[in-house]
Subunit: 158 residues, 3 copies
Amino acid sequence: MNDWALTARCQAFMYEYAASLDEERFEDWVALFDAQGCVYEVLSRENRDLGLPAPIMGCYTHGMVRDRVAMLAKGVLTYRHDRLLRQVSNLRVRPAGELLRIDAGLVVYRSDEEGVSSLYMVARYEVDVADQGARFAIRRMAVVVDSFGIDTMLAVPL
Amino acid sequence: MNDWALTARCQAFMYEYAASLDEERFEDWVALFDAQGCVYEVLSRENRDLGLPAPIMGCYTHGMVRDRVAMLAKGVLTYRHDRLLRQVSNLRVRPAGELLRIDAGLVVYRSDEEGVSSLYMVARYEVDVADQGARFAIRRMAVVVDSFGIDTMLAVPL
Amino acid sequence: MNDWALTARCQAFMYEYAASLDEERFEDWVALFDAQGCVYEVLSRENRDLGLPAPIMGCYTHGMVRDRVAMLAKGVLTYRHDRLLRQVSNLRVRPAGELLRIDAGLVVYRSDEEGVSSLYMVARYEVDVADQGARFAIRRMAVVVDSFGIDTMLAVPL
């Protein structure tokens, strides 16, 4: 709780997570997950509040996380190409067994090719990371989305 | 000014303040105020800039702060139940006599039950806290709202 | 990378930068630039991505930076007077030769005189500062705007 250096490290980690996605460095994003085992899930706030476990999407191995962005990296998919800016806010850290639990807010803005910006997504990060000394590795990344009425929300990872 | 640990503690305090409201843990919110004496006020930017002291709402004792959320905790009030996300931004700290003064931005997003999100509120926090060693206690919390044209803005505390 | 005190100092610096503009303390804003030589540029994301160097606007000396806000400070210009709130987010710091490079997100909200708030601007800061011990001095401030379709965006500095 009083370890500000630890909080600062977690903050730097989450900012790098967001930057890797904002800058479409998808291989860097994959590398933030634990190759030995990890989960990436997008959950609706509605299901979450009702205790329903079904995610909107889920990846349950490192290979699935890699596959998640393989098409994006190769430019295979065609989709409206907006520029996104992710704001990670109000980051809090607490120990969770041998892992660290990070909670934070996420607000994403979308700017189209004509330079018009709008609010895209409001969500919360719930992240379990292993502290491997030189780096953190994500064991579980849950993105609980308050905005679950957005049709293009699964085009890129959150 | 150079005490980064102090700034980090204030940041953690304000993030807990916001989380207690986001998560509707209203008793936890009340506990952040100084039981020996405290003020909670919502002020319009317009009045503030003109030097007019009248708040939009004010609580001038710990009991009034408690009353502020008593109805919410008991589910007595009926109001549109949106999910709110509060972003506390650009937090700055300076000594103010025996207290600490915290200034920060506040942006609140509202997401309705259909999962549609929108900007709800833009404001600034002006907070005086007493550093009681193990914890902070709010002596005065002023929320100066740039968005004072919102009809439901007083349904829950900011 | 592991110098959290340095990151905290950079964060405090950027928050002061934003506050000087939010509070229209334009002389304070000018004083954050290096009097010995500095650049202030606003670039569109579009030009930036295409490698085109032309800025939307640029100031290439300390005098030009001062001139940028001279009219604002004196109230010479007439323009719609909105209240702005700047959120500096996801701040990252790295050494860049003898300078420090700061990258951060910027989201600006506008609130008009009727108290109606809206999203005004989405951008990224790319800042090179000289660490002069007691203070930082800006050598180059580039504001890369994702929102370049806004007619009033050059009324005040970003």
